[in-house]
């Protein structure tokens, strides 16, 4: 028998973040939103960063966005699960729903050494096995350049 394979590090949901993760496991991308002023917040917060409102809930967002920045990790992965998977991409995604609304992604479907550039269009894809939201590059004739 071989050694057990290390599992992917998974979120330990807390009171604030549980709805986001529960939705992700059900295949939906939900982000916390202020019912008073409409501002999205990720990570979830106890009060709205703009109006200080405390009437906050979770809403399905568009799932569309662009790559803000991206890297391919080749070494120094600080967890055994990822150390076995180098090289792998890590991207920051900016959702179309609100400027500065950011999420991480491993860009499933991206070939090694073929990272998209900042500005590439992406769309939400759920990770059914782990319940971790992810994003894949959307095939478009022309990817917009950043700025």
């Amino acid at each position: 028998m071989g050694a057990p394979q290390p599992g992917r590090p998974l979120p330990a949901a807390d009171d604030l973040t549980r709805p986001h993760w529960d939705a992700a496991r059900a295949g939906r991308l939900e982000v916390q939103r202020c019912h008073d002023c409409g501002l999205y917040a990720h990570p979830p917060t106890p009060c709205c960063h703009r109006c200080l409102g405390t009437d906050l809930g979770f809403e399905v967002v568009s799932g569309r966005g662009t790559v803000y920045s991206v890297t391919e990790t080749w070494s120094g992965a600080r967890h055994p699960y990822f150390a076995e998977r180098v090289p792998y991409p890590v991207a920051i995604i900016e959702l179309d729903d609100q400027p500065g609304l950011l999420m991480y992604s491993n860009l499933p479907g991206t070939a090694a050494g073929e990272l998209p550039r900042a500005g590439a269009v992406v769309h939400f894809v759920g990770d059914e096995a782990d319940g971790i939201p992810d994003f894949a590059v959307t095939d478009t004739p022309t990817s917009e350049a950043p700025h």
């Binding site: 599992g7 992917r8 590090p9 998974l10 979120p11 330990a12 949901a13 807390d14 973040t17 917040a41 990720h42 990570p43 917060t45 960063h49 803000y68 920045s69 991206v70 890297t71 391919e72 990790t73 080749w74 070494s75 120094g76 992965a77 600080r78 967890h79 055994p80 699960y81 990822f82 998977r85 090289p87 792998y88 890590v90 920051i92 500065g100 609304l101 950011l102 999420m103 991480y104 992604s105 491993n106 990272l115 550039r117 900042a118 500005g119 782990d130 971790i132 350049a145 950043p146 700025h147």
Partner: protein
């Protein structure tokens, strides 16, 4: 006359070790005693103390004072000092601790303040995650395998995409110059241990960590401590060394970034924070970029000095990589950068080298590294979003 009247009058460096064979508290005492001896002061003269009692990344497991970090309180005990008139465990980084001490001395809250930075070098590296469940802010990063230095790699990669500039080939100029400079600094990690300066080919071929960041773009973690003594310019006249006068400071506190990106490590945020720091430090010092003869810019990762060069106005946005070519940042160049080697050239001391080198240059004590002109030198600590800047001068502002 500027508003400042403080000066750094002592610099002390402990041994730099690779791992934690000697407790960090012992090295903090070593650095303190060296700084006091440098200034010509005794332990009993200290009546102020400041530091950042924190490690670069939060590791799993215990965090023991004197082993993984050193607080002001513990160092006072190790120095057999019962109390000081003033003290602060300051958030953020060394630059903020030093500027707090400058403020305290100038306000009369204390006379001789010790500022120190002690860095732990754990076996197995920083920021490891071994558990299967991650809580807190890392629940949004660890499931994607986003570990440092991917955050810094992403700053550089976005820069490449936004400005269509910034190749690894161009970056070699800065990394290699830092290693050359570091070998001229007594006590530097490679100065003591030996080892040749890497070639351009070695820089380009050494293993990739997180694109475009390679191994030699990362500073080497070391176990060590650097300490400084701050007092007023008046008291400095009676001490052993020529004072390094504080001409201007900037230590802003920035609003929480409010995103899943830890510490706000996005290029836009760093550029904005750098712009604010530049505005403060040039205003406070009454100087302009052309007035300083050298810049010692925080370089925990090689891309960070590029951010600083552009933010401080030494060159325009998107031109930092062109600026560092052709020997412009060499000790004989138009703007010498990190003449003491910085973190990349001497080891990860979180900006202590930038402060120490600036102090030594303006006080004419840099030995074989001494620049022909060093009336005013700027030092920065931290990447801009956690940054501070100080201009030192050889005469009062």
């Amino acid at each position: 006359m500027g508003r400042h009247h403080a000066a750094v009058v002592g610099v002390g460096q402990s041994r730099l070790l690779r791992f934690d064979d000697v407790p960090l508290g012992v090295l903090a005492v070593e650095a303190t005693q060296a700084a006091l001896a440098d200034a010509g002061l005794a332990t009993g003269d200290l009546d102020g103390i400041a530091c950042i009692p924190r490690q670069p990344f939060d590791d799993e497991g215990s965090q023991r004072d004197g082993e993984h970090f050193v607080s002001t309180h513990l160092l006072l005990r190790l120095l057999s000092i019962e109390s000081t008139r003033w003290g602060a465990n300051v958030d953020i980084m060394l630059g903020h601790s030093l500027i707090e001490a400058v403020n305290a001395v100038e306000a009369g809250a204390c006379s001789h303040a010790l500022v120190f930075r002690a860095l732990h070098s754990p076996r197995g590296g920083y920021g490891r995650v071994t558990s299967l469940e991650v809580s807190g802010e890392r629940q949004f990063t660890a499931p994607y395998g986003r570990f440092p230095p991917a955050d810094f790699a992403q700053l550089w990669s976005r820069y490449q995409d936004v400005y269509s500039a910034g190749s690894r080939d161009q970056m070699a100029a800065l990394v290699l110059q830092s290693r050359v400079n570091g070998l001229r600094t007594p006590g530097g990690y490679w100065t003591v241990r030996g080892g040749a300066t890497p070639t351009r080919e070695e820089y380009l071929s050494t293993r990739m960590v997180s694109t475009p960041l390679g191994l030699l773009d990362c500073d080497l973690p070391v176990q060590g401590c650097t300490a400084f003594v701050v007092t007023t310019g008046d008291r400095a006249q009676d001490l052993r060394q020529p004072p390094a006068y504080v001409l201007g400071t900037a230590a802003p506190y920035f609003a929480e970034h409010g995103s899943v990106v830890p510490r706000g490590h996005t290029l836009d945020h760093h550029e904005r924070c750098g712009e604010i720091i530049a505005e403060h430090v040039w205003h406070d010092s009454g100087l302009r970029p052309g007035d300083v003869s050298a810049a010692n810019l925080y370089d925990g990762f090689s891309f960070i000095p590029i951010l600083w060069l552009e933010a401080l106005g030494f060159c325009a946005r998107g031109e930092g990589f062109d600026f560092i070519q052709d020997g412009r940042i060499a000790p004989t160049g138009a703007l010498p950068v990190n003449t003491g080697g910085g973190n990349l050239g001497v080891g990860r001391l979180h900006g202590a080298n930038q402060i120490a080198e600036s102090v030594l240059q303006v006080s004419g004590r840099a030995g074989e590294r001494q620049l022909y002109r060093a009336e005013a030198v700027i030092a920065t600590v931290g990447p801009p979003a956690r940054g501070a800047a100080i201009v030192f001068g050889s005469s009062p502002g």
